[in-house]
Amino acid sequence: MTAVAAHPVSSSPPAGTGLLPSGEPWQLIDPAGQPVTEAGPLPPDPTLTELYRRMVIGRRFDAQATALTKQGRLAVYPSSHGQDACQVGGVLALREQDWLFPTYRDSVAIVTRGVDPVEVLSLLRGEWHCGYDPHQHRVAPQCTPLATNTLHAVGLAHAARLKDEDTVALVLLGDGATSEGDTHEALNFAAVWKAPVVFLLQNNGYAISVPLAKQTAAPSLAHKGIGYGIPGELIDGNDAAAVYTTVQAAVERAAGGQGPTLIEALTYRIEAHTNADDATRYRNSDEVAAWLARDPLTRLEAYLRSAGQLDDDGAGRLRAEAEQFAAVLRERMNADVPADPAELFAHVYAEPTAPLREQRDSLLAELRDAGEQR
C-alpha cells in the first residue's frame, strides 16, 4: 500500500489478506486512553484535539436534541450518543470537495460537517423534510429509507469520475442496512465502476430491537467486502483516532482511483432507537454499562490529558463552548418557523403544473374562507 498522505500517518492499517478484514477490530487508542503503538502512528495532536473538541460539541448537541424532544419541540430524535467517534472521525477525514451521505441518525456528523444545526433539526421537528441546501456543504438530505442512500453516493462518485473531478463520497450506513438489497447493489456497482466511495458502516449492534445475530451470519460485516472485490476494514468505532485514520486512508484510495472501501466500525447506540422507543425490552443494562465504559470521549480525553494536550482549563473552555452552542441552539429553536401552505405546491416540479396550480388556489381559498369566518 503506498502512503501518499500529506499527514505523517500510515495510509492503511495492517489488514488481513488482501480484501479480508483483520481478525480483531483495529484500534489506535484503547478504552483507557493508552495508545496501541504497534497498531501504527496516531494522527497529529492538533487533529486529535480537534476530534475531541468536535465530539464534545457533538455530544452536547445530541443531549440538547434529546431534551428538546422530551419537551415536545422535536417530533423525534434518533440519538447518536455513543457513536460520536464515527460521527466526528468520519467527517473530519473528508476534504471540502467531498460529499457526505447521512442517515436520520447522523445529525452530529452533519453538524460537524458545518451545516447549521437548526437546519439539521428541520426534518426532526417536522418543519420540512430537509432544512438545508445539500450543495452548500455537500451533504445529502438525511436519508430515512435505509440503504437507499448508498446508491446515491455511488452514483455521485461515479459521476465525479466521469467528469474527471476529484470528489469522494462518504456514505454512512448501519448494521441493519446491510441486509437491504440496495446496499448489495451499491457495493457491487461501486466495485465494478471503481467508484470513489467510502462506505462507513456504524455497527451499533441493533436495528431498532433486532440484534446483529439476526441480521447476518457473516463472520463480520466487513467480510462482505470480499464478495464484491472491495477491501473490508474492521475497526474499533469508539476510537476516534482509528476512525479518522481509516476513513482518511480510504478517501485517499478512492481519490487515487483505486475504488471503494468498506469500513465496519464497531460501536454502540447508548440511547434507544428514538425517544419513543423502550430499549429495556430488548437489551439489558449490563450491556449498556459495558459500553459506557468504552465511551469515545472518555478515552480520547484520557489520552489528550496524558499527552499534555488537555488540562482542566482547556476542558473547562470546551465545556463552556459546548454549553454556549447548546444555549444558542435552544434560543433559536424557540422561534416558531411559520409554515406556508402555498409551499406545498411550489417544489413538486420545477414549475407547478396547471393541475397543481388549481389545487393550490383551492387550498388558499379554503384558508381565506376559514380566516374570514373567525
Partner: protein, 345 residues
C-alpha cells in the same frame, strides 16, 4: 433544436435511437445506461450504435440491478449529469420502485428545489407482442399516481422523437413509457424536437359526435376504431393524451364539452386504472354537457394473460364500437345500470 433527418420513413425504435443520439451530441452531461444498452444496443435496439459513437463513459452497461440503475442515476444527477436510463421491461422496473417513488419523485420537494433530478427512465410497456409473462405489463397508473414524476408516452415515431428530446431537456424526472408493440411501426416524418409541449395532449382526429381518449400503444387501435365508427355513422374525435401526468385538462374539457360523449381506452386493467381518473375529471368538468356516462374500454382486472389468450384481453375495435353503441344515442339510456323492476319513481 434542429432536426437531424429530412422527412424519411422511420420506425419508432429508430426515432428513439435518433433522439438519444441527438441528445448525447447536444449535451455533454447526458449519459445513457442500463442493462444491455451498450455493446448490444438494447434488446429492442433502441440504443444501437450509441456506445460505439459516444464511448463507454457516455453509454454503458450496468450490473443487473434496477434499483441500482435508478439509485446511481439519482446520485449522478445530484452531481450535475443528465442520466437517461433504461428499464429493460415494465415488470422488471419494479425493483427500482422504491428509488423512483421515495427519491426520484421526492428529492426536489424534499430540498425545496435545491436538488433537481433531470432524469429520464425509459420503460418499454404494454402487450400485443405475444410475450411471455412479465413482459407485457402496463404500469402507468403507479407512476402517474406518484406526485413529482412526469409520465409521458408517445404513440407515433415522430412524437417518440419529440417527446424523448423534450423529456431529456426537462428539469423534472420523467417516466418515459415506450409502447413496445409500436417499436416497429413506421411513419414518414421529419423528426424535430419542437412542436407540442411535453404536457400537451393532441387531437389526432377531429370529430363531432364523441371523444375517444387514449395514449401510447392504444392510440393506433383507437384510430382504427374511429374509422370503423365512421362507417356506422359516428363521427369520432380522437385524443392522444401524450402526457399522463400532468394531464392536459384543457384539451380534454374543450373536446368533451363539444361532443358531449367520451370513451377512454387503455390496455391496463380498468379497476383503479388511469381511465378512472380521466372519467372522474370529465364528470366533474363536463357534467352539464354529458349526454351519456363516460365509458372506459380497458383490459380486464386480471394479470396479463399468456399469448394464447392475449387477444381477448386487449381493447379491440369491436369492443370500442360496442362502447360507442352504449352512449345513449336516440335518447335511449344505457340499460346496463338500470335496476330491473323499476322500483324507483
Amino acid at each position: 433544436m434542429t432536426s437531424t433527418l429530412d422527412a424519411a420513413t422511420v420506425t419508432m425504435a429508430g426515432a428513439l435511437n435518433t433522439a438519444l443520439a441527438d441528445a448525447l451530441a447536444a449535451d455533454q452531461g447526458v449519459v445513457v445506461f442500463g442493462e444491455d444498452v451498450g455493446t448490444l444496443g438494447g434488446v429492442f435496439r433502441v440504443t444501437d450504435g450509441l456506445a460505439a459513437r459516444f464511448g463507454q463513459d457516455r453509454v454503458f452497461d450496468t450490473p443487473l440491478a434496477e434499483a441500482g440503475i435508478v439509485g446511481t442515476a439519482i446520485g449522478m444527477a445530484m452531481n450535475g449529469l443528465r442520466p437517461v436510463v433504461e428499464m429493460q421491461f415494465d415488470a422488471f422496473a419494479y425493483p427500482a420502485f422504491e428509488q423512483v417513488t421515495s427519491h426520484l419523485a421526492k428529492l426536489r420537494n424534499r430540498t425545496r428545489g435545491a436538488v433537481s433530478l433531470p432524469i429520464v427512465v425509459r420503460i418499454p410497456y404494454g402487450g400485443g407482442i405475444g410475450g411471455v409473462e412479465h413482459h407485457c405489463d402496463s404500469s402507468e397508473a403507479y407512476y402517474a399516481h406518484t406526485p413529482g414524476l412526469r409520465v409521458v408516452t408517445p404513440a407515433s415515431p415522430a412524437d417518440a422523437y419529440r417527446l424523448l428530446r423534450q423529456s431529456i431537456d426537462c428539469p423534472d424526472p420523467v417516466i418515459f413509457l415506450e409502447p413496445k408493440r409500436r417499436y416497429w411501426s413506421k411513419e414518414t416524418a421529419q423528426l424535430e424536437a419542437g412542436g407540442p409541449a411535453l404536457d400537451q395532449a393532441a387531437v389526432v382526429k377531429r370529430g363531432t359526435d364523441v371523444t375517444l381518449i387514449s395514449y401510447g400503444g392504444t392510440v393506433a387501435t383507437t384510430l382504427e376504431a374511429a374509422a370503423a365508427a365512421a362507417e356506422e355513422g359516428w363521427d369520432a374525435e380522437v385524443i392522444d393524451l401524450r402526457s399522463l401526468s400532468p394531464v392536459d385538462d384543457r384539451t380534454l374539457t374543450e373536446s368533451v364539452r363539444r361532443t358531449g360523449r367520451a370513451v377512454v381506452i387503455h390496455e391496463a386493467a380498468g379497476f383503479c386504472g388511469y381511465g378512472a381518473e380521466i372519467a372522474a375529471r370529465l364528470s366533474e368538468r363536463c357534467f352539464h354537457s354529458l349526454q351519456a356516462p363516460v365509458l372506459r374500454v380497458t383490459g380486464f382486472d386480471i394479470p396479463y394473460p399468456a399469448p394464447a389468450l392475449e387477444g381477448h384481453h386487449l381493447p379491440s375495435t369491436d369492443r370500442i364500437l360496442d362502447a360507442l353503441a352504449r352512449l345513449q344515442w336516440d335518447d335511449e339510456p344505457d340499460e346496463r345500470w338500470l335496476d330491473s323492476g323499476g322500483a324507483h319513481a
